[in-house]
Amino acid sequence: MLLTAVIFLPTVGALALLVLDRRDEARLRHVALWVSVVTFGLSLLLWLGFDPTRAGMQFEERRPWIPELGIGYHLGVDGISLLLVLLTTFLAPLCLLSAWTQITTRVKEFEIAMLLLETAMVGVFCALDLFLFFVFWEAMLVPMYVIIGVWGGPRRIYAAVKFILYTMAGSALMLLAILALYYLQGSTTGVYTFDYGPIARMILEPALQWPLFLAFALAFAIKVPMFPFHTWLPDAHVEAPTAGSVILAGVLLKMGTYGFLRFCLPLFPHASAVFAPAIFVLAIIGILYGAWVSMVQPDLKKLVAYSSVSHLGFVMLGLFALNAQGVEGGILQMVNHGLSTGALFLLVGMIYERRHSRLIADFGGLWGVTPVFSAVFMVVTLSSIGLPGLNGFVGEFLILVGAFQVSRPFAVLATAGIIFAAVYMLWMYQRVVFGDVRHEEVRHLPDLNARELATLVPILLLIVWIGVYPKPFIGVTEASVAELIGFVKAKAGPTAGAWWLY
């Protein structure tokens, strides 16, 4: 019941908001915020009750939903999903807090959309029935589309439509692949079900794995996004309101990487092995290309958006290394990216609210004007670069260790990506914060207020915590990752021993 509560409490909150008076904006904001805080509290109970030594699903719930078609309401979390659920419920209240003064029109609809979005996102990470997963996966589109399209920037409609059409195009083929799996599984065993367990245990002919893998991979690659499917991302991230950007970067992109981990690898181990080199190449291109494009962006938000392409390239590299370090690093890096890029979007939003510009050239000398902002910005920037002692380092290090065991050339190229990341982030930081004040408008910018600090401090704490003592975070995933890798390798059998450059 706990998982159901975490998933649907936000929906209940959204329904409660429906009956509240739309003019009483303060109450709407408070109710939504408290609903999301309580949801986070419930998800902490999940963490406390989670047994990290046990692999496999915990907190499982299984009820028939559409028994006529073998569709069940089947939920559960392992270490991998647990971290992502926590990330989602952690970021949601911060997003609502960040929107406190930024969203001033149609507040009621905004809070409802955010809460419904939270339900769908948590649902994606907990669903253990392919139909249920797909429902949550698609249900997430509408609220996000509305958030970008209604409260976004000047080109919001274009960005919103592009976002939803790209994602739908990807998921359309995944739907067919899910149906194909259903009938394949049913015709071999006689039991037609969308349940994850039996479908994951089914061993498919390599010739069948290829098209199904590609159908799933396309949906996930668009979501991650991997080069060359990333072109929706800069538009959507830049046009979305801050809260939307944080959710997009923090959680939505992780749905893609999570999908690779939960579905592509275990369901199609052979095809994954065959396509791993291609994924590696695309990941490396993403890392380098994202970094280079970030470097030349004049717009802060766009820079952060493109940096996501680069960071997610690292995650993909780690996941497809398919060894303990790589996968654990990849999962941790999903969380890290959610924290640091989420915080970057929050900071960009805060400074935009003051200066009404996001152009790097419009800033300079902030250190003397807004010292608190600049200090927080520095920590987050360093976290994003991967400075030892902060969270980014741990994840990237593990990924590189994992990738190094599989392919040295790729590991070396990826390391170069870290250097580029330092270049574009530090150069940006330098132009925005250091130097003399070049614009009169900047001279009178107010520093962060208490509410904004309350939004950022939790993230900062986690950035340092994971950087200094990552064990609790890696620990919860260890058993699940070991089981997953063992499962994939055993299922792939000796034929897939050619895990490429092993």
Binding site: F131, A139, M168, L176, L179, A180
Partner: protein, 484 residues
């Protein structure tokens, strides 16, 4: 003077008779006061439809009753009766205020709507090609008149004329097909036709193949499958919107009912017709969606979108009746709720006394009429096929049938089509929620009756999206009599 009445099981015709009775009552009550208000006729119609629905529900699951190889009241017919009764009832609820506002209130309107429904019911229960043809004609003739109810408008006359001329051609094709089949086999009864076709030499008889092809043309016209769809946009645009809703849902459902019965009879020829249905499905989906992309008039857009939805349903038929038929009948329910609902919202919105059918009238609707905008959004999401609406489940079921029938290419084309379709539905949502109002104010004429209709349509769309299980089971059972 010995005259023996053939032993008629009256219950076979019970739902049809009830609705016919209601239609006749409408004609009679039209002559008694109050003469300036006709809403009591709508009430009469609703009572009749409710009665037919209740009788159908009572008979549901009973052993099928047949009459002389002509008419059957099996679960298939009952399921379709329920579809017709509910959609017609929704249309009546929406019509009451609409026809009065448009100045076309007349007693015949309600009677004709009910007679059209009787025709649909006959089509679904016909076991003989002639009965199906009779039902088709009764339905079509009523709808031709209804389509031209805007007598003083050029577009109304154009709609009626076009619908009538093309419809008459289609009826001719259909009848000619029946004649050819009769010539080849000596029967028009579906049972005997099926037996005659089972003979090995029948499958290569040119008369039979031509007859089947002509029947498919007739059904293609009534379902507005490409290339027989050209009438749809003009008719939807010129006809009263409530009538357009009936043409888009009830008449299509009736045509699909007849099509399913006929195609199941022709199962031995499946190899022959499956290819054409495959091709028709691809063309219908693609042409419908692509042309819908550029429509600025919502009624035309919904016309092309309804063409596209017919294409999706043809995907189910192409997958073979055993696999596809339950998905098709389920989708008809889903599609009818969303389509009647969408037309319902459109007919409630007025700008300067004229129906707001142009896209730009919908700018900022989310602010001005939040309830109507939300309802329309739910219907559009269902037509796109996004969860948690019924459209998603319906498409899932249909495309699942295609996958099961190993029609992978068709399934891929279908899902890609639904992505294309998302664009034009979303554009309307963009207008409602993301753009500012422009131009003169758009008023809503939301009456309590229309409120009920929209609420039922929203309920159906969401309920079938969240808990489709029982409806799936009913759909399975509905097609069981076909697959004896």
């Amino acid at each position: 003077m010995g005259f023996t009445l053939p032993g008629l099981a009256w219950s076979v015709l019970a739902p049809v008779l009830i609705v016919t009775g209601a239609a006749v009552c409408c004609l009679l009550l039209d002559l008694v006061p109050p003469l300036d208000r006709k809403s009591h006729l709508a009430v009469t119609g609703l009572v009749g439809l409710a009665g037919a629905l209740v009788v159908s529900a009572i008979l549901w699951g009973q052993p099928p009753v047949r009459f002389q190889r002509m008419v059957a009241l099996d679960d298939f017919a009952l399921f379709f009766n329920a579809i017709f009764c509910v959609t017609t009832a929704l249309v009546l609820l929406l019509s009451v205020g609409y026809v009065r506002r448009q100045g076309i209130e007349a007693g015949e309107y309600y009677a004709l709507v009910l007679f059209a429904t009787v025709g649909m019911m006959l089509m679904a229960s016909g076991l003989d090609l002639l009965v199906i043809f009779l039902g088709l004609e009764l339905m079509s003739l009523s709808l031709y008149v209804l389509a031209g109810f805007f007598r003083t408008r050029a577009s109304g006359n154009e709609a009626a004329m076009k619908y009538f001329l093309l419809g008459a051609f289609a009826s001719g094709f259909f009848l000619y097909g029946i004649a050819l089949l009769y010539g080849a086999t000596g029967t028009t009864s579906l049972d005997r036709l099926g037996a005659a076709l089972a003979a090995p030499e029948a499958a290569r008889d040119p008369l039979i193949l031509a007859g089947v092809a002509l029947l498919l043309v007739g059904f293609g016209f009534k379902t507005s499958a490409v290339p027989f769809h050209q009438w749809a946009p003009d008719v939807y645009e010129g006809a009263p919107t409530a009538v357009a809703a009936l043409i888009a849902t009830g008449s299509k459902a009736a045509a699909f009912a007849g099509l399913l019965r006929v195609l199941v009879t022709m199962r031995v020829l499946q190899a022959d017709w499956a290819t054409y249905v495959w091709l028709a499905a691809v063309l219908t989906m693609t042409v419908g969606n692509v042309i819908a992309l550029v429509q600025g008039n919502l009624k035309r857009m919904l016309a092309y979108s309804s063409v596209a939805h017919v294409g999706y349903m043809l995907v189910g038929i192409a997958a073979g009746p055993e696999r596809g038929a339950p998905a098709v009948v389920f989708y008809l329910v889903v599609y009818s709720f969303a389509t009647v609902g969408a037309f319902g919202v459109i007919l409630l919105l007025e700008r300067e006394g004229v129906e707001a059918v142009n896209l730009d009238a919908y700018g900022g609707l989310g602010d001005r009429h939040p309830v109507l905008a939300l309802a329309l959004t739910i219907f559009l999401l269902s037509l796109i096929g996004l969860p948690p609406t019924a459209g998603f489940v319906g498409k899932f079921y249909l495309f699942g049938a295609a996958i099961r029938g190993q029609l992978f290419a068709l399934a891929v084309i279908a899902v890609l089509n639904s992505v294309v379709a998302a664009y034009y539905y979303l554009r309307l949502i963009v207008y409602m929620y993301m753009r500012d109002p422009e131009g003169p104010e758009v008023r809503s004429a939301l009456t309590p009756a229309a409120w009920v209709a929209l609420a039922v349509a929203v309920w159906g769309t969401l309920h079938l999206g969240l808990l489709p299980g029982p409806a799936f089971a009913w759909a399975q059972r509905a097609v069981a009599p076909l697959l004896w």
